[in-house]
Amino acid sequence: MTIDLTALAAPDFWIGVGIVAGIYSIFSLGLQLNVGFTGILNFGQAGFMAVGAYAMAILILKLHWPAPAAIAASTAIAMLAGIVIGAASLRLSGDYLAMATIAAAQLVGGVAQNAAPLTGGNQGLLGYDAAWAALARWMLARLRAVGLGDQSQLPLFIVTWAIFGLALALLTGLRGTPWGRVLRAIREDEAAAAALGKNVFAYKLQSLAIAAALAALAGDLLALNITLIYPQSFSADVTFIGFAVLVLGGLGSFAGVALGSVLLWTVLEAASFVRLPLAADKVAAVQMLIVGLVLIAVMVWRPEGLRGKREEMVLRG
């Protein structure tokens, strides 16, 4: 076993980590809104991500929509999925909601796997990123003017973190509004919020729909990053990596999500640079083993995460 640390000094390693970390930051912002600020256990976030990514790819490939329209529509379709799934399941509480949402996400995965004419089945879909490639080339030409032209992944990095920044600003802004305060009231005491005349169900539905939109954006970016989407890209593992990011950063802190994501993905990607004499499936196992250990360790020793506040935490027993 040797450890090759030179890779850690290369900018393209950090740009690669940054893209994945950014995608998971956007993904987990939705979880933060649901779990940290509304108190609803959304275990189906990867399903909304799949809906978004597949909707974008299908609209571009099968219906020949222009990419910006497809991305906007994919977000709207995922929100609609959030509303449909939420309308059916949000009256359930706690663990039951977790089971219902993960089942819904697995159902999305099942459709992606079995509706082959539309989704390509297990082979997946590719070739939806021509418009993005053109935009990336245009951005690279501009970056070349400032001496950054040889980092081919830099455009996606910039776009990903720009989207994260916008979403962060929006959610942080919403947090202080009456709307955001009602969400937190629901998290603290649902019955009290209802007694004040708030339509708890509608607020929860809005929270889930926004989370679904964020998952869809993350899914679109993931699709552009991996250039081929197939059902396993959106397995339940993705949701739980999102939860590891969420609790590492801390419940109740939107900015903490980015911290958790960058930390987790630096460790996960660095793990593949430790030259263990292992096959690819075993390296993947090491990475997911780390995710599991992070989840356990944070929940056992520091349930409020790195940046969370104890008073923001409602851990219903």
């Binding site: 663990d95 459709v111 609790v247 997911m288 599991g292 989840l295």
Partner: protein
């Protein structure tokens, strides 16, 4: 019902409840007839064969669901690592059977014991200390998720992700009356599984441990006050749940003929569905729910492609949660 008996004359509310119960019985009977007719419409023999396959699937679903339900009943813990305990048991049996050359029976026992030990270890290392700290439900839930990742990927780290097989002769079959067939291995799966389920049901019903478990499930502090050693009963619950999960894992991989590190997690939602169908926390209900779900998934293959079999489990899980979250038997939750 008790109230009515005490008062002698039934109140209007009781009569209404009785009418609802009667209506429910009729609806259930009508549904059963409708399902039977629907199945028979595809040919009696096809239906019978699917039913036999359903019995095989239902047997290991029931084994898995009973353990899941026991843990929920006693600890109010939804264990997302339960599916991966099936994986663990199957891989231990595989290691003993295929790598070390043990015969299948001792290898199965080894898998069962190892999984029981794993479950007990999780109680001692994690669950007991977390209870002492009064950890919240969200914390506990995510720890089960983390544990699921650790078990599944620990297995994959050792055994790799490629599909593996137990050393079993899966080619022979037993002919049943009416031109039906069941694989020899599958027959053994059903016999072993149903035997184990019968033993567990008897033990839970008549054994001291079963009574203590039910007392804990009803009210933990009250059970403690009544002098039950709750720590010991909880440890026994984990041992039971682990052993049953290990057996379910070996039997399901024997019946499927193949195993990958993912298979337990893929079964987890079906086990949830079975548990909730039977009324979560009710071990007998989970047993019935497991068998019912096995039939439902296999019967579905008569109408839609077998690739949708797992999705049928997801749909049943969602529908049960939405329509009858307290299970088909429908006792309202205490909380």
């Amino acid at each position: 019902m008790l109230n009515a008996a005490r008062r002698g004359t039934p109140s209007p509310a009781d009569t209404r409840a009785a009418a609802v119960r009667a209506a429910r019985r009729w609806i259930a009977a009508a549904l059963a007839v409708a399902v039977a007719a629907l199945l028979a419409s595809r040919g009696v023999e096809t239906a019978a064969q699917a039913t036999i396959n359903g019995l095989v699937t239902g047997t290991y679903f029931a084994l898995g669901a009973v353990g899941l339900s026991l843990v929920f009943g006693v600890l109010r813990l939804v264990n997302f690592a339960h599916g991966d305990m099936l994986t663990f048991g199957a891989y231990v049996a595989l290691l003993l059977n295929a790598a070390l050359g043990w015969p299948i029976v001792p290898a199965t026992l080894g898998g069962v014991l190892a999984t029981a030990a794993l479950a007990a270890a999780s109680e001692l290392a994690i669950w007991r200390p977390m209870r002492a700290r009064r950890a919240g439900g969200f914390q506990l839930l995510l720890i089960t998720v983390g544990l699921a990742f650790v078990i599944r990927n620990g297995v994959q780290l050792v055994a790799g992700a490629d599909p593996l097989q137990l050393r079993l002769d899966v080619t022979t079959a037993v002919a049943l009356p009416g031109g039906l067939r069941i694989g020899t291995v599958e027959l053994w799966v059903v016999v072993t599984g149903l035997g184990a389920l019968l033993a567990v049901a008897t033990l839970l019903r008549y054994g001291r441990l079963g009574k203590e478990m039910r007392a804990l499930a009803d009210n933990l502090s009250l059970a403690e006050v009544a002098g039950i050693d709750t720590g010991r009963v909880i440890l026994a619950t984990w041992l039971f749940a682990g052993a049953l999960a290990g057996l379910a894992g070996v039997l399901s991989s024997a019946a499927a003929g193949i195993l990958t590190p993912n298979f337990g997690f893929q079964l987890l939602l079906s086990l949830f569905a079975a548990t909730i169908l039977g009324g979560i926390g009710n071990a007998y209900g989970a047993l019935a729910g497991g068998l019912l779900l096995g039939f439902a998934e296999e019967w579905s293959t008569m109408f839609v492609d077998a690739r949708w079999k797992l999705a049928v489990g997801f749909v049943i899980l969602i529908l049960t949660l939405l329509v009858r979250p307290n299970g088909l038997l429908g006792r309202p939750a205490l909380k």
